[in-house]
């Protein structure tokens, strides 16, 4: 899976994937720091601008839809904290 930030394009096994901008931003954040666990509020800050109204489970919704597209096991839930990318050897 590759993410091209300039082209705003994600390809998996050479096949481009259709991601909405917020899903793309979410994936980009996770990929940029693959070992880091992002808390929900950190992800909210990355996905939404200052002062934007964010629903209580917005991040969960985005994570859910992103998982459906790239595979559920790619994003690991850290219980009580947030999300990180699956570790690749």
């Amino acid at each position: 899976m590759t993410l091209d930030p300039a082209a705003h394009e994600v390809t998996k096994d050479g096949v481009p994937m259709a991601l909405v901008p917020r899903e793309f931003a979410l994936l980009q954040a996770l990929i940029e720091e693959p070992a880091r666990v992002f808390t929900r509020s950190e992800l909210e800050d990355k996905l939404y601008g200052w002062g934007e109204e964010v629903g209580s489970n917005t991040i969960e919704v985005h994570v859910h839809s992103l998982r459906r597209k790239i595979g559920a096991e790619q994003i690991v839930t850290v219980r009580g904290v947030g999300y990180r990318l699956k570790r690749h050897e």
Partner: protein, 453 residues
Amino acid sequence: MTSIRRWLLGWLICGLAAAASIAAFGIFHTAREEASELFDYELRTVALSLPSNLETAATAERQGAGFEGISDDRILIEIWDNAGTLVYHSRESPVLARLPAGIRTIEQGESHWRVFGLQQPDRFVQVAQPFSVREALALRLALHTLWPLGLLMPVTIALVLLVVARGLGPIGGLSRLLATRSLDSLEPLHLDGTVPVELRPLVEALNDLLQRLNIASQAQRTFIADAAHELRSPLAALKLQLQAASKKGTLKDDGQTLERIDMRLNRIIRLVQQLLTLAREDAQPANEGTSVSLRRLGEQAVSDFSLLADEKQIDLGLEFRQPVTQEDPCNVLADPHGLGVLLNNLIDNAIRYTPQGGKVDVVLTRTAGRLGFEVVDNGPGIPDQDLERVLDRFYRGEHTRGTGSGLGLAIAARIAQRQQLTLSLRNNLDARGLTVSVSGFVAATGRVPAISE
């Protein structure tokens, strides 16, 4: 056991009592003698002042009744004329025979008498008083002079008790000050104007001892820290060389030996790290806490161990026990660095001893207004007889498997102690595993500085 207080009180009170007794004895006797002299003087006065119209027996008999007033003190009066005839006596019957002039004590029948005889130009007057009356009066008089002394004694004893208690106050204060000192406080005692001159040498000697002790323990800590520090670089170099050699294949073996060496090397490196941490924690003075968010701390620690837990397929997570909610920042006053080391040690321990596929929870708690956290695993737990000892440095229970250094819990306990927190271990009641709880945080009320990312 000797006691200055008891000694002082004993000697002061006994001494005062003895002195007062001697004084009382003296006063009593002097008063009695004085009274006796006074009575003699009274006898003489009575004899001298008897009116002369008692010359004749007839008038004496007639007016006898009028003199009853004089005999208040049971004074007996007898008068003889020059012819030697008893012309007057104040009692119905004559009691005493005529005696020579002058004052003397005689014994008549059962009682003693004090007698005064006076030769006047035309008669002989003899005045007498029973000794028992004199004695009774003298005794009363003497006793009357003693009551101020009797009043003085209790007042003096109360004063002595008060003064001794006050005088020994600084010693009590000093021992209280020493008793309430924390275990690792080796700072010298404060020597100010309130310390009495007598206690100064003691306090100075104590301060000197404390200072020497402080230097010695400082030297020991420095040695451990230096040794651990010095060991770090060669160990890291050794590890790098080993890795390089095994990659290049210059070391020939069946693979197992190298793996084992690598494992042991990791253990030594970890031990040295832990020693360094412990030495640092020991050396740091207890500092004032800053506002720390326990939730943020928990998130950080769980994140840091997320990959390691993943490797062992352990489900590591942060939980919130009612009344703590996920939105609750749980701000407390604490030393953030020490607290991080403490929590990391606990999580590291839990992951180390929990088998593959296990579960480790960091739980934020609030009981009776005090915040705290628990690290709960579902590993093997610790046998009850070892629960107390696992906090000791380098103690590893017989059951222990794995690669622990025996310092992790000791470091955690040390940090908790330094920050006045309560660290306790218990085996889970309803399930397998161990719960380590840290409690006693003081909730921070002020604004929490923005969390740096």
